[in-house]
Symmetry: C2
């Protein structure tokens, strides 16, 4: 006769910001745990790189530097991976899954590349592998996409999914700062890391879009499939022009399932100030989903931070705990059953905002318009203003055109002697 | 040896707007069903009041007017209740659960009063009872509250959860209409029913708040516990004053788990235009949740309508189907393990906006301020303006004060000879 599972023993791999948050949150919920999931959660081990360098606010008796201490403990049924990085996280997770231990992860870098392998291992071993915390911090999005919205054909997932860049763009918009100053402010407040590349270049957002797109469209998208373009070239002038057009500039992740393939891209985008995403500011994130039954729905909240991310991790831990107790593990494998083609960035269609400095002489505007026209780029609106020193600034918004045509037109213009500089090319959400 | 469950047979009770939407959506997803949940869904029976009067776009061979046709069919494992109303829905659901059939419902009226009984019956029979569609239409909120955010202590759930009233208030704000005209417009567009009482008096929103509050706070709240106040007395003048104070007026459901009890109330509320809920307009809904780990998170989308509601119903159907296939039914019973006291409306604390017409003579403002002060109602700001014919209008916002004190002050003022009319008393979200 099997003994009633009173307490579920878990291990936590990593004791950084998120690991510390997970530990804290499990303490905070200790007295409610049994009533919420039918079992207590007991932390058996915490794996760290170096015990002497580990934070002092976790129970030191639980610490180990040796992964085998987790592997060799059959009583540990669930492992939380909050180490980050590709290795050794991938190897450790696979070893856990293959030895019948369920895993909860927050590791977007890993899942955006190796997600399929990990989900397949979980399915093969009939255990759970969950990763709500890998995208959009505390905001529920993975479970809504996988379960709540499962009756829909999802055609678009659009998100502000990076807090660093959203903070920077908000500061630039509200206080007229340039990028470097806003980045410095973000760094000072801890919203940007010492090396902010992954955030400001859109790589972090790209990983999350790969994961959400895969789940939403039931077709595997890895990080390599995602076009990324960051915000380092955005200026306060662009933001002001956007404002004149009743738009804001956001770093948007856009995933679309179109008739001729899947698009997944991250880039600065002009979006109408009336769009719900336009009022998502500072470090807040939001994911906008369009499904053929639900229509538009949006999930908003803190996309990062110790406790919001811990909320998502522990939410998954409690879900797995309930499944362990109910003997219902391994119900969700990889949800990708399609193999949809991924479109190249040149084949996407969009509106574009462009800004260029030209020689201020007769016929230049006509020349610009001709070159655009020759490349099948039609214009929605165009303005020319003097810019001093015999130059003029031309600002335009195109109609929806194909990216390769737009890029070809821009390349041609760039080579023209009357064009001094292509200052900005920013996609516009239509 | 048990035969592999290839097809799961379901019944649908009701073929109105939502029932029709459920039927349609199941057809739309037919070819993807097996890949998404591991089984096909087959509609075995559709229960209707009168076959001749039933819509013609459902398969007539499935129709029955006899509930026993569902009860007597052991192959039917899941019943969708989209009939609405208390009886016979309650009786039918209980009979289904007690005979081992899982149920998916959209019935907020029923669940806000009898939810406990239904969940207990599901648990006793180890079957599923799910009701995502009962609150906020297509917007995922029940599963996020029950599962995704389970690691949190949720302290506040605040929502715009009625599309009719949100449409009316949006029209009043954007076009300067009065209530009656905006209601007529809503009725013409099908956003308001012939008898709009449940919507405009806040009853519909109140039922949803009872359900969400129960789940969020793990403590039973029924519709009787909810204070409701509708929007019929809101005027364009109030909306304009609100705008002058950088606020909008929304019909808000506010559920709070405070140190001295649970508050659940629905009433018009002034809210800062910077708050995310302020930009939720027309028939869109949104639910704002505050948890001690996740901080603020918001769920936005279409709170009603044939296909959004069908999205939520069929999402639950597919979840149950997966549980049937995986032999994992009955994992979620009633999640209320607390018995928190419910506060009376007089004991809540809030800021208040008030507007009154007084005799325009010396000392009146001082008298008003004294009466407020005597009732422990302190003022944040107060304005007096002439209103013609020897009258003046006094508009004020209080600090956070206790409702009973505010009400006592208003009662006293109402009895004063120098007060001609208390025109408005609207709570302000702080």
């Amino acid at each position: 006769m099997e003994k009633e599972t009173k307490s579920i023993r878990i291990a936590i791999m990593g004791a950084g910001t998120v690991g510390g948050g997970v530990y804290k949150l499990l303490q905070m919920r200790k007295s409610d745990m049994y009533q919420r999931v039918g079992a207590d959660i007991e932390i058996a081990k915490i794996l760290v790189k170096s015990i002497p360098e580990t934070r002092k606010d976790v129970d030191a008796s639980l610490l180990t530097e040796n992964f085998d201490d987790i592997m060799n403990d059959d009583s540990i049924q669930l492992v939380v991976e909050v180490m980050g990085g590709i290795e050794p996280a991938r190897t450790f997770i696979l070893r856990c899954l293959n030895s019948g231990k369920s895993v909860v992860s927050a590791n977007k870098d890993l899942i955006a590349v190796h997600g399929r392998e990990l989900l397949d291992a979980a399915e093969a071993n009939k255990v759970d592998f969950m990763f709500e915390a890998s995208c959009a911090g505390g905001i529920p999005i993975i479970r809504p996409l996988k379960q709540c919205l499962i009756a829909n054909e999802i055609t678009e997932i659009m998100g502000i999914v990076n807090g660093t860049t959203n903070y920077i763009l908000t500061k630039m918009a509200q206080e007229g700062m340039e990028f470097e100053e806003a980045l410095a402010k973000a760094t000072e407040l801890g919203y940007a890391e010492a090396d902010p590349t992954a955030d400001v270049e859109g790589l972090d957002a790209g990983r999350k879009m790969a994961i959400m797109g895969s789940i939403g469209f039931h077709s595997r998208i890895t990080f390599d499939d995602v076009y990324t373009e960051g915000i380092t070239h955005i200026t306060s002038k662009d933001i002001k022009y956007a404002k004149d057009m009743d738009c804001v500039i956001k770093l948007l992740g856009i995933a679309r399932n179109t008739d001729n393939g899947v698009e997944v891209r991250v880039h600065p985008t002009l979006i109408s100030k009336e769009h719900p995403l336009a009022s998502v500011n500072d470090v807040f994130n939001a994911v906008f989903v369009h499904g053929d039954a639900v229509d538009d729905t949006m999930f908003y909240g803190r996309g990062a931070g110790e406790m919001p991310t811990a909320s998502a991790v522990v939410g998954d831990v409690l879900e797995v705990a309930r499944n362990i107790k109910g003997k219902c593990l391994g119900m969700f494998g990889c949800t990708c059953y399609r193999e949809l083609p991924i479109k190249q960035i040149g084949d996407i269609e969009s509106k574009y905002f462009m800004r260029m400095v030209v020689r201020d002489c007769a016929g230049v505007l006509g020349n610009v318009a001709s070159i655009l026209g020759n490349n099948h780029v039609s214009i929605e609106k165009i303005i020319q203003k003097p810019a001093g020193c015999d130059t003029a600034e031309i600002v335009a918004i195109t109609d929806v055109v194909q990216e390769k045509n737009f890029k070809a037109a821009m390349q041609t213009l760039n080579d023209m002697s009357f064009v001094q500089e292509i200052s900005s090319m920013i996609r516009v959400y239509a």
